[in-house]
């Protein structure tokens, strides 16, 4: 459930923490290498000549001389293996290369877009957590009607496609009520609809997981004993069971952030927000290999960081993990 934890041994051994860190770093490096390699080869399987992408995109009428020149300049005339090793070499030194289409350094391009997407994803994750917690706490252990209703809401929201939800939200809150702008222009009000669009389906997923584990926890003896001590039903939920209920959802948050980044492709396009999602979509269409590789690596890096983070947070939330590494 918490990656990395099986390797854990009690923290009194100092070396164990070191070993754990080492393993994490090695794991992260492996993931990044695998992602870079997969991207490198996968993108060559789709039709489209990189030299053409550099010279004005598909359908360009670049001359043979220009194509040859570009192939030489970008090393595209080299064997695939040589190109692959060259790419790895550049990545190791932190060089993401230059965009074929925009002729600007990939690192600069992504740097300019990362903030917007991270803000969007983080706000959506936070809102999804709030919605999910509220729903789970409200609908658990209150009889069949509340439970069925809660479950219905969860399944429905989890199944909502982003593009549909966005269209409905725009129709209601922009075109209908006129409260919020349909196109995000960098103002806080422009962020509301995109964040809600991303958060609602995710909240459905999270609430489902939370409610199950909340139900499970409610059966535990310590809950009965707390109730016996005179704790109210709500008090038990807030003070005793939330932590337990939250555990699987915390582990899921790593996955959730990745899921949000892919949702950002749709949401950023619909709400016309600058960000990594739109950058990726554009880059794939243009066969802008350095940018595609850069975005994919960045997302992989975020995944890895989130996994570490959820691991740490799980340990804080669940004392058992700190003791024995057992679950």
């Amino acid at each position: 459930m918490t990656p990395g934890s099986p390797a854990d041994r009690p923290s009194r051994v100092n070396g164990a923490a070191l070993r754990r860190t080492g393993l994490l770093v090695a794991g992260a490096a492996f993931v990044l290498w695998a992602v870079a390699s997969l991207t490198f080869f996968a993108i060559r399987l789709i039709p489209g000549d990189p030299a053409q992408a550099i010279l004005g995109g598909p359908g360009s009428q670049a001359s043979q001389e220009a194509l040859d020149q570009v192939r030489r300049d970008y090393g595209l005339d080299q064997p695939l293996l040589v190109q692959y090793l060259a790419m790895l070499g550049r990545l190791v030194t932190g060089d993401l290369g230059t965009s074929y289409a925009l002729k600007l350094p990939v690192a600069d391009l992504l740097g300019a877009q990362l903030g917007g997407t991270l803000l969007l994803a983080t706000l959506a994750l936070a809102l999804a957590w709030l919605l999910a917690l509220g729903l789970a706490i409200w609908s658990t252990g209150r009889g069949r009607v509340a439970s069925a209703l809660g479950e219905g809401i969860e399944i429905t929201s989890a199944a909502l496609p982003h593009f549909w939800l966005a269209a409905v939200l725009i129709a209601v809150f922009s075109t209908g009520l006129g409260w919020l702008p349909p196109v995000a222009t960098g103002t806080p009000s422009g962020l509301v609809l995109p964040v809600v669009t991303l958060a609602v389906p995710l909240a459905g997923f999270l609430a489902q997981v939370m409610r199950e584990s909340l139900l499970d926890t409610m059966q535990q003896p310590f809950v009965v004993s707390a109730r016996a001590r005179g704790e109210s039903a709500l008090g038990v939920r807030l003070r005793h069971t939330i932590r337990h209920a939250a555990l699987p959802a915390i582990s899921l948050s790593g996955w959730a952030l990745g899921w949000l980044l892919s949702g950002a492709v749709v949401v950023e396009t619909i709400f016309a927000m600058p960000g990594l999602g739109r950058t990726l979509l554009q880059a794939v269409t243009l066969r802008d290999i350095p940018v595609v590789t850069g975005v994919v690596l960045l997302v992989a890096l975020v995944y890895v960081l989130m996994t570490v983070l959820t691991d740490v947070v799980s340990r804080i939330a669940d004392p058992r993990l700190r003791q024995e590494g057992a679950r």
């Binding site: 220009a66 922009s174 075109t175 196109v183 016309a272 739109r278």
Partner: protein, 553 residues
């Protein structure tokens, strides 16, 4: 010369190639759309907000590559030597007059002497020379502008204000080519900064100046207070009324329309046909309908290989499919059926409706005659064990949803005659890949260019030879020496009547050989709030200009 793609939505960026089209429409007899009447007195100041659904350019300099999204933006800050008015006449712009030598090999343009680039440098013959050299330099990676000036050998500076274009062979399309934004004149000092810097903010003589380009978000344009070079058909002189333009990139069509309805933006491009139809009943919105010049949207039949190397099979296909009802219902009456290879904007466009009269019996008879007399269990015709299959790669970047649905109707109606039309929805790179590999029997590829010379690009046998990238424009692979001769003659003659006669003869041959199924003009529409007054589309490549525009109360 080639044009510009467009995208329905997101992402495409510069595909310099063929044009794509998106939206447009046609009104009545298909003339250039009249600008909506301006009413009231012009108001100074204000920022106009424009939401573009076209791909965000990867470079703002239309010399580089050269596509429609670049043209849309460049029209606000760059200007050409000449322009074209609503009747198709070439009119003065940066050049106040021009003369051609008798042999058509030397053209002298006299430039206005009161115009300066926004970096302060004067517009002179040397600047024109530098621009043509820039376009012809392979390092510029120009595609559209490069092809447009293909017959220009060099430019000579006659004196400070007179530039002489020396041609390698006569070119009756030279003036039309020079009206296009892809051959606009930029500041030599701006060009000298190098491609990377010039792409971010090209320097021209236009009514607005590029202030800032925030990628994936917007381009800020501010007024050029020293502006003094309006084209001859402009409504006023001096600087623009608007203080600034906020040019946003909003790829999603529904979001664009919602932003217009909510008053968040004042103008949108590429509205979908159903949206136009809805907006028509909205009193606070105006529809600007500006079909693109060049070729009409059409389905090309690949005559270079079986089964369409047989004219009978081509005619059978054209007689079998029915598109009229589909165009009417899917485009909500915003697109008018075309029967010409050329856009209705072109005065020499020749139509022949009788050739495209659906006739299923005739289609069946022709196919029987051509040897496709048997049908398999699914009702498709077979010959020697092979099914009558037509591969139809469709670019999702170039064909709007309504057009894709229309192609499904083509598929359904062709089936009645026994054609197995296989539609493949592809992204732009894969689509070009399929064409380059000749993996198509039918295809639809929009193409924008000012003037009827587009016929030479699309139907002269020279255009079957692929560029090194595999791209070729003659997708019907029409290879007829008579058509070649007519198109070459038309391009070389300086006599307008002889030119028009040659183009008509060529169009008769092209249509009569059943090489294409014309559909409608390249759709190009804009929706504007009624508060926007005085905006119009330039009658060159139908890009909007906001020089005469103001925001009423």
């Amino acid at each position: 010369m080639r044009a510009a793609p467009v995208t329905t939505s997101s992402t495409t960026r510069r595909f310099g190639a063929i044009g794509v089209a998106l939206v447009a429409t046609v009104t009545l007899a298909g003339c250039q759309a009249p600008a909506p009447e301006a009413s009231g007195d012009p108001v100074q100041g204000g920022t106009l907000s424009y939401a573009s659904g076209d791909a965000e350019p990867t470079c703002l300099d239309p010399h580089v590559g050269g596509n429609y999204p670049q043209a849309l933006l460049a029209g606000q800050f760059l200007e050409s030597l000449v322009s074209r008015d609503e009747t198709g006449e070439i009119i003065p712009w940066l050049a106040e007059s021009w003369t051609a030598s008798d042999d058509g090999l030397a053209w002298e343009f006299t430039l206005r002497d009161d115009v300066a680039f926004t970096d302060g440098a004067p517009l002179d013959a040397e600047a024109v020379k530098v621009n043509v050299e820039h376009l012809k330099d392979p390092a510029t990676q120009s595609s559209t502008g490069y092809l447009a000036l293909g017959k220009v050998d060099r430019v000579e500076v006659v004196d400070e204000q007179v530039a002489r274009f020396v041609l390698s062979s006569p070119d009756s399309a030279l003036l039309e080519s020079l009206t296009q934004p892809w051959t606009a004149i930029e500041s030599p000092a701006g060009l000298a900064r190098g491609m990377d810097e010039n792409c971010q903010a090209p320097i021209g003589t236009g009514p607005f100046i590029v202030d800032e380009w925030v990628k994936q978000d917007h381009v800020s344009l501010v007024r050029n207070d020293d502006y003094a070079s309006a084209p001859a058909d402009a409504a006023h002189e001096g600087p623009a009324y608007l203080e600034a333009i906020d040019w946003r990139f909003v790829p999603d069509a529904a979001s664009r329309y919602a932003a217009l309805q909510a008053g968040q933006v004042d103008v949108i491009d590429n509205p979908q046909p159903d949206t136009i139809s809805t907006a028509e009943s909205n009193d606070s919105l105006v529809w600007l309908d500006a079909p693109r010049p060049g070729a009409a949207n059409r389905i090309e039949l690949n005559s270079g290989q079986a089964p369409f190397d047989d004219e009978r099979v081509r005619e059978a296909f054209i007689r079998a499919v029915e598109v009229d009802e589909g165009i009417e219902s899917l485009f909500f009456g915003t697109a008018e059926r075309s029967y010409s290879p050329l856009s209705s904007v072109e005065s020499v466009a020749y139509s022949d409706e009788a050739l495209f009269e659906p006739d299923l019996d005739r289609a069946n008879a022709l196919l029987d005659e051509a040897g496709w007399s048997e049908r398999d269990a699914d009702g498709y015709r077979v010959r020697d064990g092979a099914r009558l299959t037509l591969r139809f790669p469709v670019s999702t970047n170039q064909s709007i949803p309504a057009e894709q649905s229309l192609f499904e109707q083509v598929q359904a109606t062709a089936k009645a005659a026994g054609f197995d039309v296989v539609i493949e929805l592809l992204d732009l790179s894969s689509w070009y890949g399929a064409l380059a590999a000749h993996e198509y029997e039918i295809v639809s590829a929009p193409y924008t260019k000012v003037g009827p010379d587009v016929l030479r690009i699309l139907y002269h046998s020279d255009s079957i030879t692929p560029a090194p990238s595999g791209y070729f424009a003659n997708l019907s692979q029409l290879n007829d020496p008579e058509v070649d001769a007519l198109l070459s003659d038309a391009a070389a003659t300086s006599d307008p009547e002889a030119r028009a006669a040659s183009y008509e003869k060529a169009q008769r041959l092209i249509l009569g050989g059943y090489y294409l199924l014309p559909l409608y003009d390249q759709q190009n529409s804009f929706l504007m709030s009624t508060s926007v007054q005085g905006a119009r589309a330039l009658p060159t490549v139908s890009t909007p200009t906001f020089y005469d525009a103001w925001l009423a109360g």
